[in-house]
């Protein structure tokens, strides 16, 4: 028996949920960025599975663009973390309350 599209979509949903839990529960900036990466990857997996199901390449091309956007997002996000760390010697997002009123 070969895995069908349902198997891949279930795996993608599990990875997306785990990534969402990481983003929502962790307080370290690096762990939050890692959770976002995991969620993007789960979305990529679902896109490739649906592209296979529908028999065209558009989904795979879209995954390629998603990868480029994820690379840009990580570069800017990590630069933000470095700038925050220089400012307050910590990347705990709970301490980022200077802009809260």
């Amino acid at each position: 028996m070969a895995p069908t599209i349902s198997h891949f979509v279930i795996l993608a949903a599990l990875l997306l949920g785990i990534g969402a839990a990481g983003v929502l529960l962790r307080r370290s900036g690096i762990a939050i960025l890692l959770g976002i990466e995991l969620m993007l990857n789960a979305g990529n997996l679902a896109l490739v599975a649906f592209a296979r199901q529908h028999g065209n390449l558009e989904g795979q091309v879209f995954v390629f663009f998603t990868m480029a956007v994820a690379a840009a997002e990580v570069a800017v996000g990590l630069a933000l973390l470095v700038a925050i760390y220089r400012r307050q010697q910590s990347i705990d997002v709970d301490r980022l309350s200077v802009m809260r009123w």
Binding site: I10, G17, E37, H54, F64, A79, L80, D94
Partner: protein, 162 residues
Amino acid sequence: MVMTVFVVAAVLAIVSALVAVSHRDPVINVLSLVVTFFCVAVNFALLGANFLAAAQILVYAGALLVLFLFVIMLLGAPQAPESGLHRPVQKTAGLALAAIVIIGGVLLALTMKVLPPASPVTGDAREIGKAMLTTHAFSFELISVLLLAAMVGALMLVKRKH
């Protein structure tokens, strides 16, 4: 045979993803996320997307996570305990949202009508490159602008002011 590979890769991906979001040590988080990305690359290969499987390993496991490790080393692997543990409301809300996402996705996938794939597509570099440089040429150019903007933005953010 294919099913065995899928099950092994899926279980390994889920276990290493759980370690990646739950462990205290950021270095272990990043290294177990490398395992997850390798397993997702195996799934891409199972789906016939060979070029994407290679790109996944090169871009994610190769470039992005090295960037993460570099920043962790630069910041000196913060060991302080996280402050969010005594916040029951946020913890419950986060876990509930994650559970809703997982249950919804699984239910959607289980009730989905599974048809045999329309026609097997092979995502080799030739086909993807052709699609990307003809149909999606405008998006392709936009991506290069986005990467340039991200590069300039990252440089500006970490530049020291004299």
